[in-house]
């Protein structure tokens, strides 16, 4: 299931991952991907409606909830990864719901070995994984129907969340989910040929449009935890600068300000942070900081200096990039 990579080996992850299925307390089929790794607990998780490591949940009402292990920020991954899984699963796309997966080992990038998004790798790295998950779920639903009807597998087919069998038989995925969950997970399920794709490569419309149009979608800034404070940073005006000194008396005098302190910046400078009960308190406090910046250690290169450096380098022997002879 998992591609072997240096990153994965460094983390101590073996190549083998395996699927496990379970019937949820609320009913329905859940397929999870477990890593066979000494780093991870081998205990199955507590069963609940959404165990953190579930990728697919077929609900009794026919809705298919697919966990997306990448952060959506406009690139469309909240739609694209479910498309991969739903296509192989022959799921009814109009009943597919995408959810942002929580933080868990099982959602780590198969290649990088960490849960992340970036480097334009979401589809490339998850293409195989999500398709295989979908193909295995489909195979199990098909097997459940075959077992129930006592007919040959070859006489059955799947389409839009329904298994069709000989003699006009048909069963919805939601009806088969519980019995499918009791079947063994197939080791290998063949993937579709590209010419058989129904969703991959097609315009499916975004799954996340409505909550982005009615204000209900929660962005990072919308997180609200009990007792949460707001921190605002007074950044150095130039990379690498630090406060020579600062006066925070006026800032601290505001009701609701908890603390003012310095933190290092990634450009080896220092910033000043205000922590307060609310945004507006923190903003007013930051505006009242009197910071005397020290620019003595900042990057001082300018265009004239860079040109002079280039000219100097142009006069020195270079490396041979290629030769025609």
């Amino acid at each position: 299931m998992f591609a072997t990579t240096i990153a994965a080996q460094e983390l101590g992850l073996s190549r083998r991952g395996f699927l496990r299925v379970s019937v949820t307390a609320a009913g329905g089929l859940i397929v999870s991907l477990y890593l066979d790794s000494p780093l991870l607990s081998q205990q199955p998780p507590q069963l609940k409606v959404y165990p953190p490591d579930a990728f697919v949940h077929i609900k009794r009402d026919g809705m298919i909830v697919i966990q997306v292990n990448r952060l959506e920020f406009g690139q469309g991954v909240q739609t694209a990864l479910p498309m991969l899984l739903a296509d192989e699963m022959d799921a009814d796309w109009s009943h597919v719901v995408a959810e942002l997966a929580p933080a868990a080992d099982v959602y780590k990038d198969p290649l990088f070995g960490i849960q992340m998004v970036g480097g334009s790798g979401s589809i490339a790295h998850s293409f195989q994984q999500y398709r295989e998950l979908g193909a295995k779920v489909r195979a199990m639903l098909l097997a459940a129907a075959v077992q129930q009807w006592k007919v040959p597998t070859a006489q059955c087919r799947t389409e839009a969340s329904v298994v069709y069998g000989p003699g006009g038989r048909s069963a919805k995925y939601a009806e088969l989910a519980d019995s499918a969950a009791r079947l063994p997970v197939p080791e290998n399920s063949p993937l579709k040929r590209a010419s058989d794709f129904k969703l991959i490569g097609k315009d499916t419309r975004r799954l996340d449009s409505r909550p982005k149009c009615d204000g209900s979608l929660k962005f990072g800034l919308d997180l609200d935890l009990p007792g949460m404070k707001v921190a605002l940073v007074a950044h150095p005006p130039i990379f690498g600068a630090s406060p020579k000194s600062f006066d925070d008396k006026a800032a601290r005098s505001l009701q609701g300000v908890m603390d003012v302190f310095e933190i290092p910046t990634i450009s080896r400078g220092t910033a000043v942070v205000v922590v307060a009960d609310k945004f507006w308190t923190a903003k007013q406090a930051r505006d009242r900081l009197a910071i005397n910046w020290d620019f003595s250690r900042v990057e001082s290169a300018d265009t004239a200096q860079l040109w002079a450096k280039y000219k100097e380098l142009a006069g020195t022997p270079g490396n041979v990039a290629g030769s025609t002879s």
Binding site: S209, R210, D222, W280
Partner: protein, 154 residues
């Protein structure tokens, strides 16, 4: 600290806060209505647009003390308005959004436009939507969706 009585999406609300607090932060932090977004804080991007007495308003620069008894409508409530509903539906059917962060403000501005000009021209759209910035660059679809909503409402 002062106490203010506000009408938000038709509901009476009461908040106690510093009079200088912008409406945006009253909505987001006091009333826990996070659909209205913080972008620039200086009325330059439009992400925080709400309706105050029907006027598209940048809530990040309007102190709560200036609201008075003017009713406020936010993205959480605009779907109950026929024009608001048509705009939201057009946004979905035209697949306007990408990251979606600016779209609450875009939709609030679009609804205000269609309420004053039911059949806007491209120029009308550019003039009234020009203050709503979208870094994903969804402008072409926004224009299509406004026209689709306009037709739907005609």
């Amino acid at each position: 600290m002062e106490t203010y009585k506000l009408t938000v999406n038709g509901q009476a609300k009461e908040v106690s806060t510093d009079p200088s607090t912008p409406l945006l932060w009253v909505l987001r932090e006091e009333l826990k209505m996070t659909g209205t977004k913080y972008g620039c804080g200086i009325s330059a991007c439009g992400a925080c647009t709400v309706h105050v007495a029907g006027v598209a308003t940048r809530s990040c620069v309007v102190p709560v003390s200036l609201i008075g008894d003017r009713p406020i409508v936010t993205i959480e409530g605009i779907g109950q308005d026929p024009v608001g509903r048509a705009v939201e539906d057009a946004w979905v059917s035209e697949d306007v959004v990408q990251c979606g962060y600016c779209q609450s403000g875009q939709i609030m501005s679009a609804v205000a436009l269609l309420k004053s000009i039911p059949k806007p021209t491209d120029t009308n759209i550019e003039e009234s939507m020009g203050g709503n910035i979208c870094r994903c660059g969804t402008y072409v679809r926004i224009r299509k969706a406004i026209k689709a909503a306009s037709q739907q409402l005609a």
